[in-house]
């Protein structure tokens, strides 16, 4: 009878851009149990509400994550705006939608590159990241920042996108879509990728739902939850369907992200066609007094920002629940019973953002 051994995975590992540790209990080459531990980069950002006034805290919220920073800032602003009963101008809501989708495209392209790298497909990694650069160029041109955009504020947005720039962005999307289709075909049809991902790290629909999986991790298992369907920002005026796959394996989670890039392109086109003229911000008056849960769909899934104010310039509490945190229990489930060699691919398939999760 084979004996059980424990193999440490992380916090430093070639497929991990950020540190997380897993104790893998193995029987031969098979994982019997995976025990996660985190906290290597815990920054305590939430406690900074005591040090930063509520308009300044947007900068902290954005720095929760270096990939989906815009959506963090927006979700925080939504929460404060709700507490203060601020009606954000419609143009600002459309701009938030456009920047959110560019954030999603760049995040998914980043992940696709990392995933290709984890599989050993270096060319595909470079092709994905080369294309991602063009998305970052747009974010830089329209917000001033490639990584931290800094364009969201309580009451609206700091910058407008001129009509001619918006037209050019939409025009450029045709070339971007054509180039991405080439990459997408490789991700979806290449034999080596299929061999490494099909039937690997399977998460059933029931487990995905009951364990709290979110985003592409959930939608890859057939759970059609997409917070954009709640209609925040301008999503209520945009027609789109959540991308859903049903196999629940690494391939399905990859396919969801590939198809969501096409969906994001379509959403940007619709938003650019419908965006009204007008103001881009309202000035907040007074201080937040009350509490609110604000939710949005990050590239990795449901993001929750909770704020509680007592009428002063400083909030009493900010709580940020990121999708990676809620995708950890499903990851533990996926890893149970898998082969040791598949662990890196499975871990990467939830698109873990540890800096985001640790805050």
């Amino acid at each position: 009878m084979s004996r059980r051994i424990i193999v440490p995975f992380g916090p430093q590992h070639p497929v991990l851009p950020e540190p997380i540790h897993l104790d893998l209990v193995l029987q031969d080459e098979r994982v019997v149990e995976a025990i996660p531990s985190i906290g290597y980069i815990h920054r305590g950002l939430e406690t900074l509400v005591a040090k930063r006034e509520y308009p300044e805290y947007v900068y902290i919220a954005e720095r929760t994550c270096g990939i989906c920073s815009f959506i963090h800032g927006m979700t925080y602003c939504q929460a404060v705006e709700q507490v203060m009963n601020l009606e954000v101008p419609e143009r600002a809501l459309y701009l938030r939608t456009i920047w959110s989708e560019y954030s999603r495209m760049h995040s998914h392209l980043l992940w696709l590159g990392l995933f290709a790298d984890a599989i050993g497909f270096e060319n595909l990694f470079m092709a994905s990241w080369r294309l991602r650069e063009s998305v970052l160029d747009v974010l830089e041109e329209t917000t001033g920042g490639r990584v931290i955009q800094g364009s969201c504020k309580v009451g609206g947005v700091r910058r407008d996108i001129p009509g001619e720039t918006l037209d050019r962005m939409v025009g450029d999307l045709a070339g971007f879509e054509r180039d991405f289709r080439e990459i997408a075909n490789v991700f979806l049809h290449d034999e080596s990728i299929i061999a490494r991902t099909r039937g690997v790290g399977v998460l059933s629909r029931g487990d995905a739902y009951h364990l709290g999986a979110m985003g592409p991790t959930a939608r890859g298992s057939g759970v059609a939850i997409d917070l954009r369907k709640t209609g925040y920002a301008a999503y209520g005026k945009i027609h789109f369907k959540p991308v859903v796959e049903t196999d629940g394996d690494c391939y399905a989670r990859c396919a969801v992200r590939v198809k969501e890039v096409f969906s994001s392109i379509d959403i940007v086109r619709q938003a650019a066609a419908k965006i009204p003229e007008g103001e881009i911000e309202v000035k907040p008056k007074g201080n937040p007094n009350g509490e609110c849960f604000s939710r949005a769909e990050q590239p990795r899934g449901e993001l929750v920002h909770y704020v509680k104010g007592d009428g002063s310039r400083h909030l009493v509490r900010s709580r940020i629940r990121t999708p990676t945190l809620t995708n950890i229990p499903p990851l533990v489930k996926m890893l149970s019973g898998c082969e040791l060699a598949d662990v890196p691919v499975i871990v990467l398939s939830i698109d873990p953002c540890i800096g985001c999760m640790e805050r």
Binding site: G44, K51, Q82, Y209, H210, R295, A296, R317
Partner: protein, 126 residues
């Protein structure tokens, strides 16, 4: 999507498990757990969602009160309960996976119970 305090129901700690079981039977998914320190008490929020309908349960406890784990009902709750223990020092009993205070490997024990900031208090190692 934003939700105000309207969706929050404050309940007694002893009723927590029963109410969470009700949510589970109705098909709600667990969105999150979190803790807020208000004065010397702690508000613990349990958030659920069904078809984008958001509901929140809240119990208010002091730092010494033991809080029952809901991980027997929602298996994935262990991640939030361990987080709540490690950051705030809340004593959660009956967790299905108990990291014993080692999920978040922070330099300071229970850093959110009494937060200190750089330059304002003793920092370990300085």
């Amino acid at each position: 999507m934003t939700m105000g305090a309207d969706e929050t129901t404050v309940i007694e700690r002893d009723h927590l498990i029963g109410r969470v079981e009700e949510f589970n039977k109705q098909g709600y998914r667990l969105v999150q757990l979190h803790c807020t320190k208000v004065g010397e008490t702690y508000e613990i929020n349990y958030s659920f969602d069904l078809d984008y309908q958001f509901r929140n349960l809240r119990i208010v406890v002091d730092g010494q009160t033991e809080v029952p784990s809901i991980s027997g009902i929602y298996w994935g709750a262990f991640i939030y309960e361990n987080e709540m223990h490690d950051l705030f020092g809340i004593r959660v009993v009956g967790m299905n996976i108990d990291f014993g205070g080692n999920l978040f490997r922070t330099a300071k024990k229970n850093p959110f119970a009494n937060p200190t900031f750089r330059g304002e208090g003793p920092c370990p190692g300085e």
